[in-house]
Amino acid sequence: MSEKTTTNTSFFNDAGNRALLFQVVLLTAVVAIGYYLFHNLQANLQDQGISTGFAFLNEPAGFPILIHLIEYTEAGTYGRAFLVALINTMLISFIGIALATIIGVVMGLARLSQNWLVAKLATVYIETLRNIPLLLQMFFWYFAVLAALPHPRDSIIFGDFFLNKRGIYSPNPIFEDGFGVVIFGFLACVVAAIALIVWAKKRQTRTGEWFPAYWTSFAIIIFGTIICYLLAGSPVTFDLPEASRFNVKGGMVLVPEFVAVLVALSTYTGAFIAEIVRAGILSVSWGQTEAARSLGMRDSITQRLIVLPQALRVIIPPLTSQYLNLAKNSSLGAAIAYPELVAVVMGTTLNQTGQAIETIGLCMLVYGSLSLSISFFMNWYNKKMSLVER
């Protein structure tokens, strides 16, 4: 530092000094604006008689919520309602991510298909859905498609499934006492399967002998669980939906709000994921496939051991941001009254209590942590899959 100042430049011509000065000005400005806004906020809140703090979370909410996975009644508190909404958001995000991934992979592969017709159909699907706003698609599914379903009295019936305006009714499994045994058996099978995979991998590195560990462990999990289920005396009964004259009663109901949000989110995000999958697979040069073939690998092995690991490296980072987008886009469910976080907290709760700062802050915090945890997981997975360079 001292060498710099010995040159005969003036104070303001020194890059270091200017940087320091500029940053001091910026910091002062940020702090000053922050203080000014905070000051206004306090004054405004005092004028309007709004109390700050999260005490309102303990007050009774007094509004019903259509979908609640945990116990909730109108007498529940705002805190409870918040929790219900949070679970709804996470529910739609996780199911949506799983579905969108499946759709995306299928459509991405279809667009690369040798079959001209299949490739063109996939292209039309992708280019249509990607270029139409998600909110419009959600409205379409909710107000145009699902609202056009028949009235409950003339439901469409497939066996024990009923389809009508009020939703999709399906048998509801009721878990009886012995079900713990089945869960325990399932977990044991999973542990056994993982142990088998680890053992097979170790043996392959040691002796070179190959063992179909994935198929075997898949079979262990499926058949093991079924055997446990039978041994425990089939501890699951089904509550079947029944059609009465004007309505369908009982069973498990998927309400149209849920279906519309889920379908719109997963098909829309699926179109984006399809393009990512396609780009990933195209990024692996054809030489890799040819090299694998010349080593005598079967096509399935080539795909699994040569193409896929290299494609995944390209796919994962943009895939992560699609997952994040899906989680954030689930907030659009508010527009068709799916009771997720924005609808319940920033909609009803905000309207009833007027606690704008707290409710919006709470929502931003939740979405922030949801985004962070998804990106944390995907970064971990990315690191695991990434090329180890020496």
Partner: protein, 366 residues
């Protein structure tokens, strides 16, 4: 005596390996799976295409006063015809439509003038970015030269959608550049301010930001100082897409080799000179696809203003479908809106591909 070797001409490929027959065999019937896929696709096409054409064209009704006119069982396009003005201009007074049309024509002419070679592009850009917005604002809002004042709450339809989209796009690009440069800066405070802003905005959905713009901002301003909801929403949308834009541009900045930065420094250019003349022209060119994707995203996201109570194209359609005269015409409305959004977004993505090809100077890795 030497015998000259004369190869006989090559035989043509077997007739089943060329031409339409071979193409069909290769694409549709090369394996059992492929045959199944072909039949499956044809079945899907059969299920989707004929009923759609029948609904949209053959059985459609194009004119009528209300839903009762639509008796053919197909699409009721009369609904779109009846509401067309509202879908385009919102509740803007009918006698003043010419103002919006004039502004649109002016913009089209100004942009079209870029094609004329003899015109100074810098001058034209300044006209479009500085003078035109002022003129357009006074045309839309009125209040001078005897133009009737039109409240922004009456603005709506495709007009509002375009306004939000264009202003958002024009404002978010420079802001994104500044944020990206800030994030790459050596100054720790500048860097952390930019990082915190970008990451916070990217972590939350646009709805929360729009809610913030419509509900929370008034709480942060002193009494009496309050500005228009449209402006607040515009600021929200711009800040939101600027954060995404910043990340796209940062990608471009990172892709520029260090030698370019050093060469610019060695030429004695100042920071802004080296950025504007050397780095940014290269970096922005690299990330055109990303920038246009962000633009498309922004344009689609303008539909969200409906949730905070503004009636853009989708909002106007949504409210028109509740009209008692036209109940049950939701599908037609959504199809119309979808077609407009699709055409604009698809057009943007194709245009970006053309620009990319035009600007490609061959530095890209192939």
């Amino acid at each position: 005596m030497a015998i000259e070797f004369k190869p006989s001409p090559s035989l043509p490929p077997p007739s089943n390996a060329v031409g339409a027959v071979a193409w069909i065999r290769k694409n549709f019937f090369s394996s059992p799976l492929n045959i199944f896929l072909t039949i499956f696709s044809l079945y899907i096409l059969y299920l989707l295409v004929p009923p759609t054409i029948e609904w949209a064209f053959i059985d459609a009704t194009w004119t009528g006063e209300n839903k009762d006119a639509c008796t053919a069982g197909g699409a009721c396009w009369a609904f779109i015809v009846a509401y067309f003005d509202q879908f385009m201009y919102g509740l803007y007074p009918q006698s003043e439509y010419w103002r919006i049309n004039l502004a649109a024509i002016m913009l089209a002419v100004l942009i079209g003038m870029f094609a004329i070679k003899s015109i100074n592009k810098l001058f034209l850009s300044i006209v479009i970015l500085v003078i035109y917005p002022v003129v357009a604002y006074f045309l839309f809002a009125g209040g001078i030269f005897g133009l009737e004042v039109v409240e922004t709450s009456l603005w709506g339809g495709l007009f509002l959608t375009t306004l939000l989209g264009v202003v958002g796009i024009v404002a978010s690009l420079p802001l994104g550049v500044v944020l990206a440069l800030g994030r790459r800066s050596n100054m720790p405070i500048v860097k952390s301010v930019c990082v915190v802003f970008i990451e916070t905005v990217r972590a939350v959905p646009l709805i929360t930001i729009l809610f913030m713009a419509s509900v929370m901002i008034p709480l942060f301003l002193p009494d009496g100082l309050n500005f228009n909801k449209l402006l607040r929403v515009l600021i929200g949308i711009t800040l939101f897409s600027a954060a995404y834009m910043a990340e796209v541009i940062r990608g471009g900045l990172q892709a520029i080799p260090k030698g370019q930065y050093e060469a610019a420094d060695a030429m004695g250019l100042t920071y802004w000179q080296s950025m504007l003349l050397v780095i940014l022209p290269q970096a922005l060119k690299l990330v055109i696809p990303g920038i246009v994707n962000t633009f498309i995203g922004l344009f689609k996201d303008t539909t969200l203003v409906y949730i905070v109570g503004m009636f853009d194209l989708l909002g106007r359609i949504q409210s028109a479908t509740h009209d008692g005269d036209w109940l049950g015409t939701t599908t037609e409305g959504y199809a119309f809106a979808g077609l407009i959004y699709w055409a604009i977004c698809f057009g943007m993505s194709r245009y970006s591909m053309a620009v990319e090809r035009k600007l490609d100077t061959g530095h890209k890795r192939n």
